[in-house]
Amino acid sequence: MLPSSEWFRVAGTAFACLGIVLSGFAMADDADDPGFVGFMAISAGLLFVGGWIFVPDVLTRAAHVFAIGGYIFYVGGIVASVAFASKILVIG
């Protein structure tokens, strides 16, 4: 049995947030500035800890905002795969 839709929303939002934070780290790494990396680490930590302590349902609320990610995924998933398939049919 699959978990509930709410579970998927919260888990999806958590992963998306983590990805955004990690991409911040990647950008800091590209900038080759150790100070920026430290700043990102402290900010991310404060964001998550602060969120969990002071606004316990922050992730659930954010899930509704991030739900748009699902729509992007829907459009991108179908359009990108069809674009690939069309290219293969034309060049093959």
Binding site: L2, S5, E6, F8, R9, A11, G12, T13, A14, F15, A16, C17, L18, G19, I20, L22, S23, F25, A26, D29, A63, F66, A67, G69, G70, Y71, I72, F73, Y74, G77, I78, A80, S81, V82, F84, A85, S86, I88, L89, V90, I91, G92
Partner: protein, 258 residues
């Protein structure tokens, strides 16, 4: 008895495939396969095995997995939107593939072709024979059910099951034939195209077998009751336009290459 006679004949089974979970399951499985292939692309960058696992890769993977998770509730609630989108995607692919033979003929007469036209025609005939075989098998099975009674549940259910199987198999064969006729070298360049295309084929087949219930209309003209979703004719019309769009795009691309 009187109620049985006065009740209208249900004709909704003509368009309702059975079992009704088959379409959404195939569609979801196909989409998952497509998503995992895309994630594997971002995991190893440009296909270079020596690519190290950087923070950027993990960030992309995390956003991808998050997007996938967020799409699950959306899929559960709006499965019809996924099915409609993939049906149109299937029509686009058909439109693109329809120009392949035309290009072969032009190349044959202009002397620029690399393969033989007779080989292409033989391949098409072989595939047509397979399709005819499937149609015959379905016809004989349906005749068996009509003459000797039901095998699974009831005559109506069994005939609908045969119809569902026929539509599903023909969809799988039709799309499969299109992608297997592509030059193998394309797949050798990037082997991960194969699972992605398999996912797309499964998803489009699932969309074919999806029973649309949105904007459901029940037309009662005794003794016949017809249940039909208004989305069916709308998609049929939109599908023709998308097919023409795919055909036009493909022709433009091919003429540029000739």
């Amino acid at each position: 008895m009187i109620e049985g006679i006065s009740a209208p004949l249900q004709l909704s089974w003509i368009v309702d495939y059975v079992p009704d979970w088959l379409g959404p399951t195939l569609l979801g499985s196909g989409l998952l396969l497509v998503v995992f292939t895309f994630l594997s692309f971002s995991y190893s960058g440009d296909g270079d095995e020596s690519t190290s696992l950087s923070v950027g890769t993990f960030a992309l993977l995390s956003i991808g997995v998050g997007g996938g998770f967020l799409a699950v509730p959306l899929y559960r609630r709006y499965t019809f939107a996924f099915a409609a989108g993939l049906l149109l995607a299937g029509r686009w692919i058909e439109g693109v593939a329809a120009t392949r033979l035309l290009t072969k003929v032009i190349r044959f007469f202009s002397g620029t072709g690399t393969g033989s036209l007779s080989g292409t025609l033989k391949r098409r005939l072989r595939r047509m024979a397979i399709v005819v075989l499937v149609l015959l098998l379905a016809g004989w099975t349906a005749l068996w059910v009509v003459l000797f009674g039901p095998v699974v549940v009831s005559q109506t259910y069994d005939l609908t099951l045969i119809w569902t199987t026929l539509v599903g198999v023909l969809s799988l064969l039709g799309l499969g034939f299109k992608f297997t006729s592509v030059d193998n070298r394309v797949y050798l360049i990037e082997p991960r195209f194969v699972p992605m295309l398999l996912g797309l084929i499964l998803a489009v087949t699932g969309a074919q077998l999806y029973n649309f219930e949105i904007l459901q209309q029940v037309l009662v003209r005794r003794p016949v009751e017809l249940n039909i979703s208004l989305l069916d004719p709308l998609l049929l019309f939109a599908g023709q336009i998308v097919y023409l769009g795919g055909y036009y795009w493909s022709i433009r691309q091919r003429l540029r290459e000739l």
